[in-house]
C-alpha cells in the first residue's frame, strides 16, 4: 500500500479518535447535567403531593392511544394495566393494526367489546377502519379495528378519534405504572406552553407482573436483555434527562409520550413514510412551532415509567437497531434544514448537530475506525503501547459512562432493590465493552446501509409475553 494511502489511514485514525472523544464528552456532559437535573427534580417532587394536585386541581383529560399489531401474547395484560391507571379522566383507544393473530379476539373476549360509533375529530389519512368497538365492562375503553398500515398509521387512526386535549402515544405491549399519567401530565399544568412530554422506558423482562402491574422488579435472565437494561438507563437517565435540562429534547419514545392533540393534528399527525415516527414527530414539532412562532416546550419527566419487553435474541435485536438507525436517518435528513440554524434554537444548534454527526454518522466512523485501526496495527504503523492505551481509554470511558447511569439510578429511583442487581449492573458496565458495543455499532451500520438501499418496513418482533405472577397464572 502506498505511503499516501497510509497517511490517509493514519489521519482517519485521528478522526476516529476525535469522534470518539467528542461523542463521549457529550455523553459525560449529559450525565453531569442530568445529575444536577435529577437532584433538583427529586427535591421538587418532595414538595408536591401529586395525587392531591391531580384530584383537587384540574386534570386534563387524556386519550391513551395504543397501536397493537400481533400482540396476542401481551395485549390483555397491557390493557388491564391501563385500566388500573390512577387518573381521573382518560379514554383508552387500542388500535388493532390489522393483526393476523388473535389480538382482536382476545380483546373482544376479555373486555366484552361491542361495535359502537365514534365520531372522527381530525382529518388524518389512515388505512381503512373496519369497526369501532367499545367495552361494555369499561366505558372508557375503545378498540379500533383497521387494515394494517404500520404504527404511525395506527396512531393517526387513534388520533382521528381522540376527543381530549392531550393524548398519550404508547405501545400496546407496554405496562404503565399506576401513577404514570399523573406524573407525566405535571409539565402541562406547570407550563401552559408544554406541547409534549416523554417518560421513561424500562425493561420488563424478568420482572413479575400481577394484574397489569409490575410487582417485583428484577433483572432479566439473559445477558442480552440485561445489557439492554443498562443501555436504557444510560439513554433515559443520562441522555434524555440531560438533553431535556437544556431544553433540546429531540426524541420522545414512541412507547410512552404525551402530546397536545391540536398541535400534533395541525402539524399533520404522524408521518407514515418513516420507521422512526416518534423521533420524526418531535423534530417536526420543533420545526412547526419555530416556523409558526408558537411558544412551546418539550419536556422529559424521569419517573413516570412504561415497562416494555425487549428482544432476547440477537436476530430480533439486530432488526430493532437496524430500524432505529433508519428512523434516525430519515428524521434527520428530512429536517436537515434545522442543522446549525439559530432559528430552531437549541434543538437546531446543539441537539440536531449532535444527532446528525455523532449518532447518525457514528456507526460508519466507528466501524471504519476498527478496520483502519486493525490494519494499522497489522502493518505495524501504530505502536502497541499506543493501541493498548487507546483501547484502555475506550473501555474505561465506556464503563465510566455506564456507571454514571447506575449512579443516577441509585440517586433517584432505585428500581432494582437487590444488592446483587447493583453488582450485576457494575459487571455489565465492563462486559458490554467487549462485543456488545461493537455488535451494536455493526447493527447500526447495517441500518445505515439498509437505509441507503431503500429498505422499508419494521421487521418482525416476536413477543414472549410478560412474566405474570404465580397467582395470576393460576
Amino acid at each position: 500500500m502506498s505511503e499516501i494511502a497510509w497517511s490517509v489511514i493514519l489521519v482517519f485514525n485521528w478522526i476516529v479518535l476525535f469522534y470518539f472523544l467528542a461523542l463521549h464528552t457529550v455523553y459525560l456532559g449529559a450525565s453531569l447535567i442530568a445529575f444536577k437535573a435529577l437532584k433538583t427534580y427529586a427535591l421538587r417532587m418532595k414538595s408536591l403531593d401529586l395525587s392531591d394536585l391531580i384530584t383537587t386541581a384540574y386534570a386534563p383529560p387524556i386519550t391513551l392511544i395504543a397501536p397493537a399489531f400481533n400482540e396476542e401474547a401481551t395485549c390483555v395484560e397491557s390493557v388491564r394495566s391501563l385500566l388500573t391507571l390512577e387518573y381521573p379522566n382518560f379514554d383508552i383507544v387500542v388500535v388493532n393494526d390489522g393483526s393476523s393473530d388473535g389480538t382482536l379476539d382476545r380483546l373482544i373476549d376479555e373486555f366484552n367489546l361491542k361495535p359502537a360509533r365514534r365520531f372522527a375529530t381530525a382529518e388524518l389519512e389512515s388505512a381503512e377502519i373496519r369497526e369501532v368497538f367499545r367495552s361494555r365492562r369499561h366505558p372508557n375503553l375503545w378498540v379500533i379495528d383497521k387494515e394494517n398500515g404500520g404504527k404511525a398509521d395506527a396512531l393517526n387512526a387513534g388520533l382521528k378519534y381522540c376527543q381530549t386535549p392531550l393524548f398519550c402515544a404508547m405501545d400496546a405491549d407496554s405496562v404503565l405504572e399506576p401513577q404514570a399519567l399523573i406524573r407525566i401530565v405535571r409539565p402541562f399544568l406547570e407550563d401552559g406552553t408544554t406541547i409534549a412530554a416523554g417518560g421513561v422506558l424500562r425493561i420488563a423482562n424478568g420482572c413479575v407482573i400481577d394484574k397489569g402491574r409490575v410487582v417485583d422488579v428484577r433483572l432479566p435472565q439473559t445477558l442480552l436483555a440485561r445489557l439492554q437494561v443498562l443501555e436504557y438507563l444510560r439513554a433515559f437517565l443520562s441522555g434524555r434527562m440531560g438533553w431535556a435540562a437544556i431544553d433540546a429534547t429531540l426524541v420522545i419514545s414512541g412507547a410512552f409520550g404525551i402530546f397536545r392533540r391540536n398541535i400534533v393534528v395541525d402539524a399533520g399527525g404522524y408521518a407514515t413514510d418513516t420507521v422512526g415516527e416518534d423521533m420524526e414527530l418531535v423534530v417536526r414539532l420543533h420545526r412547526y412551532c419555530r416556523e409558526n412562532d408558537i411558544p412551546y416546550h418539550i419536556h422529559f419527566v424521569p419517573d413516570p415509567v412504561a415497562w416494555t419487553e425487549c428482544p432476547e435474541s440477537l436476530s430480533i435485536l439486530s432488526r430493532q437497531r437496524d430500524r432505529w438507525q433508519r428512523g434516525l436517518i430519515q428524521s434527520l435528513t428530512r429536517h436537515r434544514v434545522m442543522l446549525f440554524r439559530p432559528r430552531y434554537g437549541r434543538a437546531g444548534m446543539i441537539a440536531f448537530p449532535y444527532f446528525f454527526f455523532l449518532e447518525m454518522l457514528g456507526p460508519v466512523i466507528e466501524l471504519l475506525g476498527y478496520v483502519s485501526f486493525t490494519a494499522s496495527i497489522i502493518a505495524g504503523r501504530i505502536e502497541w503501547p499506543f493501541v493498548m492505551a487507546f483501547l484502555s481509554v475506550a473501555i474505561v470511558l465506556g464503563a465510566a459512562l455506564s456507571l454514571a447511569a447506575v449512579v443516577l439510578e441509585e440517586l433517584s429511583f432505585r428500581r432494582y432493590p437487590r444488592a446483587w442487581d447493583l453488582v450485576q449492573l457494575f459487571i455489565l458496565a465492563i462486559v458490554e465493552n467487549f462485543g456488545y458495543r461493537q455488535l451494536s455499532a455493526w447493527w447500526r451500520l447495517k441500518g445505515t446501509i439498509s437505509e441507503l438501499r431503500g429498505v422499508e418496513g419494521w421487521g418482525h418482533m416476536q413477543r414472549k409475553g410478560f412474566n405474570v405472577s404465580d397467582r395470576e397464572a393460576a
Partner: protein, 351 residues
C-alpha cells in the same frame, strides 16, 4: 527531556486513563455509598414508623392521648416525625387530620427555619409542611412563601393558602396570582375555585375590570365556571361585549354555557357564525345548553359544520333541545353525520 509525538500521545493517554479510572472508581464507590445510605435510611424510617404508628393511631382514635405520642419522639428524630405525620395527613380528612396537626405542632418551629434554605426545593417542601400541618398558626411563614422569588415556592404557598377553610388568605393569593402567568390556565382556575364563594365577587368583578389582563380574566371565568357561580352570567355577557381576545371569549362562552340564562342567548348567537372555529364551537355548546327550543334549526345546521368540535357540540345541543328523534333518524338513514349522531345518542355509557 523532549518526547516524540508518539510518546507525548502516550503520556496524554496514560493521564486520561488514570483520570477515567479515578472517575470510574468514584462512580462505583458513590453508587455503593448511595445504596448503603439509602438502605440505612429505609431501615431507620421503617424502625421509626413501627415505633410511632401504634401511638399515633391510638391518638387518632382518642385525641386525649396526643401527649403520649410526644413522649416517644426523641429530639434527634423530630423532623422525621414531622415527615411521618405529613405522609399520614395525606391519607385522612376531618377531625383525624386535626389530631395529626396537633401531633406535629410542637415541632413545626424547626420547619420555619428551613424557609431560609438556599435551595428552592427545600423551601417549597417547608411551605408544603407548614401549609398542610401549620395553618393558620404559621400563616405568616406561608405568606412569606407566596412572596418567595422562586415560582415553585410561591405556587406551593398559593396552593395551600387557596383553600375554602381559609378565606382570609384569598386577597393575598389574588394579589399574587399574576406571578403564575406561565402555568396552565385551567389549573389556576381550579386553584381559585377551591377558595369557594368568598372570592366569587372578586372574580366576577375581575371579568369586566379593564386593569386586568385578558389571560387573568379567562382564569377568573374558568374559576367561576368551576364554582358554577349563578351570578356570573351577566358580567360574562358584559365582558363578551368588550372585544375580548379569543381565549377569553372562549372561556366566557364556556362560563355562560354553565351558568347563563335564556336572556344571554343573543350574545351567544352572535358567536355561532364566528370565523374562529374555537369560538363557534363554544357558542354552539352554550346554545345547546341554554336554548328554549327556538334554536333547534341552528343546532341542526351546526351538525354539518366543517369543525368537528362545533359539530359535536351542535349534536349534543340537538339532543338537549329535544331533538333525540332527529339524531336517531340520522343514524337509521346513514346520514353523513351518522357516526356523530350515534356517538352522542349513546354517550350515557351504553355502547
Amino acid at each position: 527531556m523532549i518526547l516524540s509525538p508518539t510518546e507525548s500521545a502516550l503520556v496524554i493517554l496514560s493521564i486520561v486513563i488514570a483520570v477515567l479510572l479515578a472517575i470510574t472508581l468514584v462512580f462505583s464507590v458513590y453508587a455503593l455509598l448511595l445504596r448503603v445510605r439509602n438502605g440505612q435510611r429505609e431501615r431507620l424510617t421503617e424502625m421509626l414508623k413501627s415505633r410511632w404508628e401504634g401511638p399515633v393511631l391510638a391518638a387518632i382514635v382518642d385525641p386525649t392521648r396526643v401527649d403520649e405520642v410526644h413522649e416517644v419522639v426523641p429530639e434527634k428524630y423530630r423532623l422525621h416525625f414531622v415527615n411521618f405525620i405529613l405522609e399520614y395527613t395525606r391519607r385522612v380528612r376531618g377531625e383525624e387530620r386535626q389530631t395529626l396537626r396537633l401531633l406535629a405542632s410542637p415541632y413545626l418551629d424547626l420547619i420555619v427555619g428551613r424557609m431560609k434554605h438556599r435551595d428552592a426545593g427545600r423551601r417549597a417542601r417547608a411551605v408544603q409542611t407548614l401549609g398542610t400541618l401549620g395553618l393558620p398558626a404559621y400563616s405568616s411563614a406561608v405568606l412569606d412563601g407566596l412572596r418567595d422569588e422562586s415560582p415553585l415556592v410561591s405556587m406551593t404557598a398559593a396552593r395551600y393558602l387557596a383553600r375554602r377553610e381559609f378565606p382570609e388568605f384569598a386577597p393575598a393569593v389574588l394579589e399574587h396570582i399574576d406571578r403564575f402567568d406561565s402555568w396552565n390556565r385551567r389549573f389556576l382556575a381550579s386553584m381559585l375555585a377551591e377558595m369557594g364563594s368568598e372570592v366569587s365577587g372578586t372574580l366576577r368583578g375581575g371579568l369586566t375590570d379593564d386593569t386586568r389582563p385578558d389571560w387573568l380574566k379567562a382564569v377568573f371565568a374558568e374559576a367561576l365556571r368551576t364554582q358554577r357561580d349563578p351570578l356570573a352570567g351577566d358580567p360574562a355577557a358584559a365582558a363578551l361585549g368588550q372585544e375580548p381576545d379569543r381565549e377569553l371569549a372562549a372561556s366566557l362562552l364556556r362560563l355562560i354555557a354553565e351558568v347563563g340564562r335564556v336572556q344571554h342567548l343573543p350574545v351567544v348567537r352572535s358567536f355561532t357564525n364566528s370565523e374562529d372555529e374555537m369560538l363557534r364551537s363554544q357558542a354552539m355548546h352554550a346554545l345547546g345548553l341554554l336554548t328554549d327550543g327556538s334554536d333547534l334549526s341552528a343546532l341542526v345546521e351546526g351538525l354539518d359544520d366543517s369543525s368537528p368540535w362545533t359539530a359535536i357540540h351542535a349534536a349534543r345541543g340537538v339532543k338537549e333541545a329535544g331533538g333525540r328523534t332527529l339524531l336517531e333518524g340520522m343514524v337509521a338513514d346513514e346520514h353523513q353525520r351518522n357516526e356523530l349522531a350515534g356517538q352522542i345518542l349513546f354517550e350515557e355509557g351504553e355502547p
